[in-house]
């Protein structure tokens, strides 16, 4: 196998749905091998982008390349290296776990019976479904189904793994195991992870993008982004009822309750004054800063350049 590091380039992808919702606006991203987090609130366009990358949808304009493969035109080639775990999916209720995984293994091109058996067994064990391998899928809990989906996505050692909100249905231990697995895979594949949980990204991803209303707000390495915010995030404890005036006077990016009092984070390049203390920013601050629109996106090359 070639040992070349594969990467994904998204060039000016836009998509508007028939009902007028602009799901993606001129999205331009370079996604190198490794874990890449796509962070954004519900309805930001994450799933649309993921589906587009997973060959299930076509943008109105723009181009996507996976290494030398044109994702929008050479769907078949993409699918051969693709692992996809959608946000929501079902199963054939009347079919045994093992059989359905085996079936997907064939669909993914693992035709040798022996290696198929090996892979299926390994994946079932790794996803803790080995005990229930001969049960029918109809009675599975959400978590079990999610694990089954993970197993399907991992079939065939994909070079591009797209996982749409994968940790949503998993318990904490499962989540850790799954994220570990993803990071291992990220060593020589592109793993694109969409989530609205900031911890997922901060723990794992070497790169990330923040997306809202179809726009990429920020595209950076988490460490770097955090570093950039050094000295700009201030904290104050707001008294009851003083929040509206605080919001008027300062650039409040987030508020949260702490021991019954409201703690507000404020973005400011200078000391905002009395009652504020400088805090060590974290990725959550990066996210909220971007969402609040205080992050100034750097100029990016506009014309699609094909990665060589």
């Amino acid at each position: 196998m070639e040992n070349q590091q594969i990467s994904l380039s998204i060039r000016n992808v836009s998509k508007t749905y028939a009902n007028g919702v602009q799901a993606l606006r001129n999205v331009y991203l370079d996604i190198p091998a490794g874990m890449y987090g796509l962070l954004g609130p519900n309805g930001a366009g994450k799933s649309t982008l993921m589906r587009t990358l997973a060959t299930l949808q076509e943008p109105d304009s723009g181009q996507v390349f996976l290494g030398g493969i044109d994702v929008l035109k050479q769907k078949e080639e993409v699918r051969q290296t693709l692992g996809y775990l959608p946000q929501e999916f079902g199963v054939y209720p009347g079919v045994r776990t093992e059989d359905l995984l085996d079936y997907f293994a064939v669909l993914k091109g693992i035709t040798s019976r022996a290696s198929r058996r090996e892979v299926v067994a390994a994946l079932l064990k790794q996803t803790n479904l080995w005990e229930v391998r001969s049960q029918k899928l109809g009675g599975f809990s959400g978590g079990m189904r999610q694990r089954f989906g993970v197993a399907v996505a991992l079939l065939g050692n994909p070079k591009l793994l797209i996982v749409d909100e994968p940790t949503a249905g998993l318990d904490p231990a499962e989540r850790v195991r799954f994220l570990n697995l993803l990071s291992e895979l990220g060593e020589n594949s592109v793993v694109l992870l969409s989530t609205h949980i900031v911890e997922d990204v901060s723990e794992l991803c070497t790169h990330m993008a923040i997306i809202n209303k179809g726009l990429i707000l920020q595209d950076a390495a988490p460490m770097h982004a955090v570093r950039e915010l050094q000295g700009r995030i201030w904290r104050c404890v707001a008294e009851k009822g003083s929040l509206p005036s605080l919001e008027q006077e300062h650039q409040v990016i987030s508020t949260k309750l702490l021991g019954g009092r409201t703690v507000a984070h404020v973005y400011s390049e200078e000391d905002p004054g009395k009652g504020f203390e400088l805090v060590q920013p974290d990725l959550e601050d990066v996210y909220f800063t971007a969402m609040a629109g205080y992050h100034h996106k750097q100029e990016l090359p506009q014309v699609g350049e094909v990665q060589s």
Binding site: P86, G94, I110, R147, R177
Partner: protein, 1196 residues
């Protein structure tokens, strides 16, 4: 309140669906379309109640097949859309929830079927429409059919659909409910009706009414009835409505009880109906400490070459097959019908109630039905294909796996073909079940000469291709439409088109998907010449299928962008080299096979639609009808030199006719005619004559004689007929000359003298449409001019030399004088010593010949070598008949008698002079000829033998009303005598019951009298019963004597020709005055008796005798042609009989004629021993529609 809210919400939702409106549009289109094509018939106004009722019933069936998803949506949409957790947890009660939803579905469905009466109404009363004379607008007619017929049906169906969908949590299951409801009750009703011989079963059990109402009671409606009568809510119909409404209520109750407001544990289809075997165990997420165990996935080799595609295709196929096989109705429905066929094979393998040997040919006939045949139970197969095609196409998406599966590295064509092959595999399994059922039937019936090869050919060759073509179409429609319920509607429409193409004005099989000219198989002819054309057509449709395949692949739904517009836009990108190749090959095949077929059906052969055929008949009458009255000479001698080439389907006939002027005037023109396909040439007269007119399109020629043919003079005309089947036709026609099965008559190929009136259109309504003068089906008995013409004036002697292929034996009328071989062909010389009338046939096949003799008559039997089990029986019947008829009616006129098996599926026999033909099915009849059985084949042969005296060359009646009585009724009566003589009372009684059984079938009471009989029912059934009754009253010697006298007074073909009036006169002379009333009732009027024994009391007297009192109810009605029933006073002689325990009808304790008057009366008798039962007319001599109440048991 909550229920009302749920109802409103659901109702609004259902009404907003496009599907609902599409259904409405189709139902309206159905009423308009059917109104356009239906012809009301004679004396019936266009807006008659019969039409309104029948269309509502048929439209109801259509709705049942289309509209299932409405109830399904209401019942299962919430569960399928997974919104149920939100709903179940609200404080709404189950009754409110299910009730509201059900009522909404019911309301929408009720409104939908309302479109049927409304559509009919609109059709007639929309402004700007012209319908001729209409009956006045009668609102209650429409209300009646809606509330009594449509609405209860809708309630029952909606209840079942709703229950199915609710309990399975799946919308589509409602279609299965429809399928079951459409097929099973009708099937059960029909089988109950045919097996038990009681048609009220059909009326009772059929919820839809196609068999029970339209096929039942409505068939008894007369023309005035049709205008005004409505289904009355009484009797069996009332019971039917009550039973089904109760059943529906029960089903709803079941739904209510079984429906749980709980999360469906599994989506297995029948979760509530079956107990789960074991609980699911939840797999715990191990390693709760987290992080420690990392996951390693073994690296595997993957490839995406051809081999992988093959394995993927296989996996897809297996998964698709598995899905259908696991479905509760996947294999069971077809399996159940196959099993039932095997178990009840004895009821299926019957012809006229007589068991048949279950040869493979027969069984295949029951198992193989064309895809578009909606009257066979196998219509479930195409309907199941429709259903499962949708389920397959939507399988991933329905399960929520669409995204995952679509993102897998599988090409579209693998997904598509995999599903197609899965469906194909299921079809294969179904056919396997059919074959097992068939073989099972043969084993159960004790037939062990299996022909597996034939099964394979017919089922896995012919039928499989048909079903596969249909399956592919179904898949492609589902792909293209991409809307499950609407695709289902579209397919149903396509299916209707395939089933009734001529209703849509399309007849050519090149235009009807999957169509072919048809095929048949018989033991003698095999598949004959039908396979070649069949194959060409299937190649043609396979070419279309390839293009469909390409279409399906290009428009395959993958990913989230599913609009047709989008798919059309990306389709060009999906074109690959293989796609191009398949398209090119498909198009090439399509063009070549299509043009080859067209060349055969439309160039080599003339293509005629049904309308063309009718127009031809009408034009023939318009052009040459005036020659009907012009006198022609009589054909008195026929000499033929026939060269048959069975393998080439070719024949050449050189013939010579001798014509004699038997009229009183000189004749100066000769008319010759033929079937249009059988042109003749080289016409030469033995005296100067000139062709005046040659109209080959209508097969009509006129020749003018230089010197007129004087009365008594004769002339000879020579001709040559050459016939060869070139290529093939668009529809299978009767095969005339084929290998091992040549069978044609003079009407098929040989020229005839004069205008052929039988070619005219008979049906009054069609005549009117073609602007032809109205005329009765038959000329009136009292029309003097008509009484001078027989059906055919020919009275010809016959001589023929027939040459045929070396391996075959040729058969023609007369004595076989010699046979020889020449140039590798065999020749047979036949000649008759007497006139054989005007009808004969020529046959050729690889016959086995058996010779026998009765007195100085040579008997030769020609039969298919393996059809030998009934030869002895036939021979016995022939000899017994010759003996009986010769003694009773006069000598047999020929020196030989020939019995020959005519290739083809016929289950009966037919007679010409000196010869009887029996069909291949007749040859394998397997009757019970024990004393307690019924040897119908024996009777049939005796009947055909009787034609040697009645009809044909002996008694040729005038071609007027009642002619059929002189030919058929007299033969029925004669055959019965022979049956009784050799088999005794029991077999005869069975035959009488067989005749009466036709009265049990729903039919109108209105019919002509026997004297003016004009339909087969009267000729065969009533005529036989009347003569039998008369023979019981006055003795068969007297009846036979009358018949002998009738025959002896006539010389065949001489004027005046006999009519029923002559028969009546003879019978009258043989009947004592006291019974003349009976003759009138039986022959002159349309009389029915209603006889009933209401009470039977037997008391032992002191002297040891038994005093019996019967309370009798009697009534006699005469029904006139308008259907008016008039009760007439009766004072009739009727048999009264008493019977001891364990003794049959043939051993009465008491049987005497009593005078019985109208109304209730007591009859008292004294008998020496204890009677067990008794009653009036025990031998069923009268025409009484309720025969089961004639007799009564002690203590009833």
């Amino acid at each position: 309140m909550i229920r009302w809210k749920i109802f409103c919400f659901e109702f609004a939702y259902l009404v907003r669906r496009t599907f609902t409106w599409l259904c409405l549009a189709l139902l309206l289109a159905f009423t308009f379309g059917m109104n356009q094509v239906i012809s009301p018939g004679d004396g019936v106004y266009p807006n008659n109640t019969f039409l309104v009722t029948a269309l509502t019933v048929l439209g109801g069936l259509l709705w049942l097949m289309m509209g299932a998803s409405i109830a399904g949506q209401a019942a299962a949409r919430d569960a399928q859309a997974r919104i149920h957790p939100l709903i179940y947890t609200t404080p709404v009660s189950k009754l409110d929830y299910l009730g509201g939803k059900f009522l909404a579905a019911l309301a929408v469905n009720a409104l939908l079927v309302l479109s049927l009466p409304v559509g009919i109404l609109l059709f007639f009363y929309l402004p700007g429409r012209e319908h001729g004379e209409l009956l006045p607008f009668r609102p209650w007619v429409y209300l009646n059919v809606y509330f009594l017929i449509a609405l209860p049906t809708v309630f029952v169906a909606t209840a079942l659909q709703f229950t199915f969908a609710a309990l399975s949590h799946r919308v589509m299951t409602s279609y299965l409910a429809s399928l079951l409801l459409a097929i099973f009750p009708q099937l059960i009703a029909m089988s109950a009706a045919t097996l038990l011989g009681n048609w009220s079963w059909a009326a009772l059990l059929d919820p839809i009414g196609v068999a029970g109402i339209v096929g039942g009671e409505m068939q008894t409606w007369t023309a005035p009835d049709k205008n005004t009568r409505l289904m009355a809510l009484e009797g069996v119909f009332l019971l039917n409505r009550i039973c089904w409404l109760a059943a529906a209520a029960g089903i709803l109750w079941l739904a209510y009880r079984r429906y749980g407001f709980v999360h469906p544990v599994t989506n297995s289809r029948w979760p509530r109906l079956k107990r789960r075997s074991k609980a699911q165990t939840e797999a715990p997420a191990k390693g709760a400490t987290g992080g420690a165990a990392s996951i390693t996935v073994p690296q595997v080799q993957r490839s995406f070459g051809f081999a992988t595609r093959f394995w993927q295709l296989l996996a897809m196929t297996r998964a698709s097959f598995g899905m259908i096989a696991r479905n509760p109705v996947g294999l069971t429905l077809v399996g159940a019908i196959a099993l039932a066929s095997a178990v009840f094979g004895a009821f299926i393998m019957k012809e006229n109630g007589v068991p048949l040997l279950s040869t493979t040919q027969q069984v295949i006939g029951c198992l193989a039905a064309p895809v578009g045949n909606v009257s066979s139970p196998w219509v479930v197969i195409p309907l199941l294909i429709l259903y499962f095609a949708g389920e397959l196409v939507w399988r991933e998406r329905d399960a929520g796996l669409g995204d995952v599966a679509d993102a897998a590295p599988v090409p579209d064509w693998v997904l598509f073909m995999g599903k197609f092959m899965g469906l194909g595999l299921i079809i294969l399994a179904w056919l396997g079940l059919l074959m097992t059922g068939g073989i099972g039937m043969q084993f159960i019936l004790g037939y062990d000469k299996l022909e597996p090869g034939l099964y394979v050919k017919a089922l896995f060759g012919l039928q499989l291709i048909d079903y596969l073509l249909f399956a592919l179409l179904a898949l492609v429609v589902h792909v293209v439409v991409n809307q499950k319920h609407i695709a289902y509607l579209v397919l149903l429409f396509v299916f209707c088109f395939m089933a009734f193409p001529s209703r849509f004005g399309v007849e050519h099989p090149l235009l009807i998907y999957g169509a072919d000219p048809g095929w048949w198989y018989t033991d003698m002819r095999g598949f004959g010449p039908t396979l070649g054309p069949w194959l060409w057509f299937k190649l043609y449709w396979t070419a279309w299928a390839l293009l469909l395949l390409v279409g399906g692949r290009l428009l395959w739904v993958r990913g989230r962008e599913q609009s047709l517009k989008h798919r059309l836009r990306v389709a060009p990108r999906r074109i690959k080299r293989s796609t191009v190749w398949v398209t090119v090959i498909g198009t090439g095949l399509l063009l070549t096979t299509g043009s080859f077929i067209f060349y055969n059906t439309n160039v080599l052969n003339a293509y005629h639609t049904e309308a063309d055929g009718l127009e031809w008949e009408a034009e023939y009458e318009r052009r040459y009808g005036r020659y009907n009255q012009s006198p022609q000479p009589q054909l008195t001698a026929t000499k033929l030199q026939v060269e048959l080439y069975p393998d080439q389907q070719e024949v050449e006939i050189r013939g010579a006719y001798t014509l004699v002027n038997k009229t009183t005037a000189a004749l100066d023109t000769i008319q010759l005619g033929s079937e249009p396909g059988a042109a003749f040439g080289e016409v030469r007269f033995n005296r100067p004559a000139a062709g005046v007119l040659t109209d080959s399109a209508f097969g009509f020629r006129l020749y003018a004689l230089k010197a007129p043919l004087q009365p008594g003079d004769s002339l000879q005309v020579d001709f040559v007929v050459h016939h060869k089947q070139n290529g093939f036709r668009h529809r299978n026609t009767k095969p005339l000359v084929v290998a091992n099965g040549t069978f044609f008559t003079n009407y098929d190929l040989l020229p005839a003298i004069g205008y052929q009136r039988f070619r005219e259109i008979q049906d009054a309504y069609i005549r009117k449409n073609h602007q032809l003068a109205a005329r009765p089906v038959l000329p009136s008995l009292y029309e003097h001019e008509a009484r001078r013409k027989p059906f055919s004036a020919d009275q010809t002697t016959f001589e023929a030399i027939v040459g045929t292929a070396k391996g075959e034996v040729a058969v023609a009328p007369g004595v076989l004088h010699s046979t020889w071989e020449k140039d590798g062909r065999r020749y047979f010389h036949y000649k008759t010593n007497a006139s054989i009338g005007g009808e004969y046939a020529i046959l050729s096949a690889n016959y086995q010949v058996k010779e026998s003799r009765w007195k100085d008559v040579t008997i030769r039997i020609y039969h298919h070598p393996s059809h030998d089990q009934n030869i002895e029986r036939m021979l016995r019947s022939v000899k017994a008949s010759l003996a009986y008829y010769t003694a009773q009616f006069g000598p047999y006129p020929f020196e030989s008698f020939t019995l020959v098996e005519g290739a083809g599926p016929g289950g009966g026999a037919s007679a010409d002079a000196g010869i009887v033909y029996f069909g291949e099915q007749y040859a394998i009849l397997n009757p019970d000829d024990s004393p307690g059985g019924f040897d119908l084949p024996y009777y049939i042969m005796a009947h055909e033998m009787a034609h040697q005296w009645w009809g044909l060359a002996r008694l040729t009646p005038a071609y007027v009303e009642g002619a059929g009585v002189l030919i058929e009724s007299l033969s029925v009566y004669s055959g019965m005598q022979v049956l009784e003589k050799d088999y005794g009372d029991h077999h005869l009684q069975q035959y009488v019951d067989y005749l009466h059984a036709s009265y049990a079938m729903p039919r109108s009471l209105v019919s002509a009298s026997l004297l003016q009989a004009n339909e087969e029912f009267l000729y065969y059934k009533k005529g036989g019963l009347a003569l039998y009754a008369l023979s019981k009253y006055i003795g068969k010697e007297k009846v036979n004597g009358a018949l002998r006298s009738l025959l002896q007074k006539r010389t065949t073909g001489e004027l005046p020709l006999p009519t029923t009036l002559d028969l009546y006169q003879e019978l009258q002379q043989a009947t004592p005055d006291s019974l003349h009333y009976l003759l009138t009732d039986l022959f002159k009027e349309n009389t029915y008796w209603r006889l009933k024994t209401k009470q039977f009391v037997a008391e032992e007297s002191k002297s040891g005798d038994w005093r019996v009192t019967l309370k009798i109810q009697a009534q006699k009605v005469v029904v006139d042609s308008a259907g008016n029933e008039e009760e007439v006073p009766m004072h009739d002689w009727l048999e009264v009989g008493l019977y001891e325990e364990g003794k049959g009808l043939s051993e009465p304790l008491y049987l005497r004629m009593h005078r019985v008057r109208s109304g209730e009366q007591l009859i008292k008798m004294t008998v020496p021993r204890k009677p067990e039962s008794g009653g009036i007319d025990p031998n069923k001599l009268m025409i009484d529609l309720r025969l089961d109440d004639n007799m009564r048991q002690e203590g009833d």
